[in-house]
């Protein structure tokens, strides 16, 4: 039994590498074939995957079903968009801060703002659990959504165009491959980071908080701050994904903050496999494939997405990862 466990663990690791490799190769090949559209499509997969990896930490490993992660995704996007707008207009931020178009600085902002917001939302919502938690996270995201809609300075309902992408040090981010490489590096970093976190002592405590929080408290670890910490880290990762998404599309709109977006981030995880490292990457890939290819035939492609989703939930719990490498292992 032990042997097969190790084998499965190995298979999963191999699969993780294969998926990442395939994504990388696809981007290179499409770029080499001069298919900029498809390179951007791969970047889209990668960004959704980052958002999913972020949420997976809270949802898959910590058992916190957040239906409000679009708030962080959208805020990340808005910070990138607002920075770009001020930079192109040569105006300063609210507090007289100089505007910047450097991604690294912008991401720092995203990290700080998303962490603070997640701390606030988490402090209130983690006092509850189950359905209450789902609905409260949803409601907080709605708050942010309506704020964005009714705030005309930054585009209101129409959203905000980004006239030119934010810069990454001296690189030409308008080049599809350069932009892909930035996204891909961020994905690698977040996957690596979350794989460390999951296996660490903190990760153990987090997963026990999901399995049985009475057990966790009984050994002397309070589940609440453990979950809160994971929620914050999760929000920050999703926020970075949002910043990248805004730059990819050169556009941010309240859609990024909508609850459908929150639902879609959960879908990335579910299609791939909840609580599996590569789950969100596989899921995001499947999502974008459906969107692109069925979406090419009919504008009602989400009907098919819904059917796939329903079938996976009802009959194939565990997603693609389970079909390929079997049950999840705890090592």
């Amino acid at each position: 039994m032990l042997n097969s466990t190790h084998q499965k663990g190995f298979k999963e690791k191999a699969l993780n590498l294969i998926i990442l490799g395939l994504i990388f190769v696809t981007a290179l090949v499409t770029y080499w074939l001069d298919q900029g559209y498809y390179v951007n499509l791969v970047s889209r997969v990668v960004i959704f995957a980052i958002a999913g990896v972020g949420l997976n930490l809270a949802l898959g490993y910590g058992g916190m079903v957040s239906l409000g992660h679009a708030a962080f995704f959208g805020i990340g996007g808005y910070i990138a968009g607002i920075s770009a707008m001020h930079f192109s207009e040569n105006t300063s931020f609210i507090a007289g801060l100089d505007s910047t178009n450097q991604m690294l600085t912008i991401w720092l902002f995203v990290i700080i703002i998303c962490a603070l917001l997640a701390l606030f939302i988490g402090l209130i919502s983690l006092r509850t659990s189950g359905v209450y938690f789902i609905m409260i996270t949803l409601s907080f995201a709605q708050m942010v959504y309506y704020f964005a809609i009714s705030w005309p300075d930054y585009g209101g309902e129409d959203g905000l165009l980004i006239s030119s992408r934010n810069q990454f040090l001296g690189n030409d981010t308008d080049n599809e491959l350069v932009f892909f490489l930035i996204c891909f590096t961020v994905l690698l970093l977040t996957v690596f980071l979350s794989s460390r976190i999951i296996r660490s002592r903190f990760g153990t405590a987090l997963q026990v908080a999901r399995m049985n929080d009475v057990r966790l408290a009984t050994v002397g670890i309070r589940p609440y701050p453990i979950k809160l910490t994971a929620f914050v880290i999760s929000a920050v990762i999703t926020g970075i994904a949002g910043a990248l998404f805004a730059d990819l599309n050169r556009f941010v709109s309240p859609d990024m903050l909508s609850w459908q977006m929150s639902g879609e981030i959960i879908i990335f995880i579910l299609l791939g496999g909840v609580g599996r490292l590569s789950g969100p990457i596989l899921g995001a890939t499947l999502f974008v494939l459906l969107e692109t290819f069925i979406g090419g035939y009919t504008e009602h492609w989400k009907l098919f997405l819904g059917l796939v989703l329903l079938i996976v939930v009802l009959y194939a719990n565990g997603g693609l990862m389970k079909m390929v490498v079997g049950e999840k292992q705890h090592d």
């Binding site: 032990l2 460390r196 976190i197 296996r199 660490s200 002592r201 903190f202 990760g203 153990t204 405590a205 997963q207 026990v208 399995m211 049985n212 009475v214 057990r215 966790l216 408290a217 009984t218 050994v219 002397g220 670890i221 309070r222 589940p223 453990i226 910490t229 705890h330 090592d331």
Partner: protein, 261 residues
């Protein structure tokens, strides 16, 4: 073998009070489930709480462990008032417990369950980088405790696949890993086969010198074998407290409890 827990046993004098419950009262509407209960646990002893079903034992355990908030009264652990502390904090102060219904991380192996407790005792759950599963300081200590309870052979078995009896022993192992000052064991013998029951009795008899035990138990054989003191809880009231012999001789207890059996 007991090196890791030596300091706790020597730091407190034999016979001194470790856990003290004073005037503990809890009402649910008109029903008084804990009626100003006074009770204590001294170093080196096993104090057993018995009583018919519905006597309020679970509520009392809940209040000691911290899941239920008493209406009034106080609980003191080693001189510290813990009445208003949360569950986790009480555990860190040295209150180890096992549950009536197994409460483990079922998706983890027996070893990982004990390692979690070791990790908690080391006070280091906010480490984000080093893998916990291969952490030798956690493995060694967990293995020692599993060994002590003679369940080493099951260390790689998932808690969900353990037999009912092994789960109870695993819970005791997790509690011990916390190096507690007091053990609160809620019906640890329930569901054990006779051999395992005797094994656990012998184990607890040896353990009590090291860690005093507040025991809730239905198995009267075990109770009379193990207990230094027995208290009887009926309708939320402690009606009698004394040695096993006194309990057996008490007409009051016979009438209220043993007689009804």
């Amino acid at each position: 073998m007991t090196n890791s827990t030596v300091d706790t046993s020597n730091s407190t004098k034999l016979g001194s009070t470790v856990l003290k419950i004073e005037n503990l009262t809890k009402r649910y509407g008109a029903l008084t489930v804990s009626d100003s209960i006074n009770c204590d646990l001294k170093q080196g002893e096993i104090h057993t709480l018995i009583g018919p079903n519905g006597a309020g034992k679970s509520t009392l355990v809940g209040q000691i462990a911290g899941w239920i908030k008493p209406d009034s009264g106080s609980i003191t652990l080693n001189g510290t008032n813990i009445t208003n502390m949360n569950v986790a904090k009480r555990s860190r102060l040295g209150l180890g417990r096992s549950f009536q219904v197994s409460c483990l991380a079922m998706e983890l192996s027996a070893q990982r369950n004990v390692m979690l407790a070791v990790q908690a005792r080391q006070g280091s759950s906010y480490r984000f980088w080093k893998p916990a599963a291969s952490d030798q300081s956690l493995i060694d200590e967990a293995d020692k405790i599993l060994d002590r309870l003679h369940i080493s052979e099951f260390k790689d078995t998932l808690a969900s696949q353990l037999s009912h009896g092994k789960r109870r022993e695993l819970e005791v192992a997790c509690a011990l890993a916390l190096q507690p000052k007091v053990l609160l064991l809620d019906e640890p013998m329930a569901g054990l086969d006779p051999a395992s029951t005797q094994g656990l009795i012998n184990f607890l008899q040896n353990l009590k010198a090291e860690i005093p035990i507040l025991l809730i138990e239905h198995d009267m054989d075990a109770v009379f074998q193990l207990s230094d003191r027995i208290s009887v809880l009926v309708y939320g009231k402690l009606i009698f407290s004394g040695s096993p012999d006194q309990i057996k001789a008490s007409p009051e207890v016979r009438k209220a409890y043993l007689g009804d059996d």
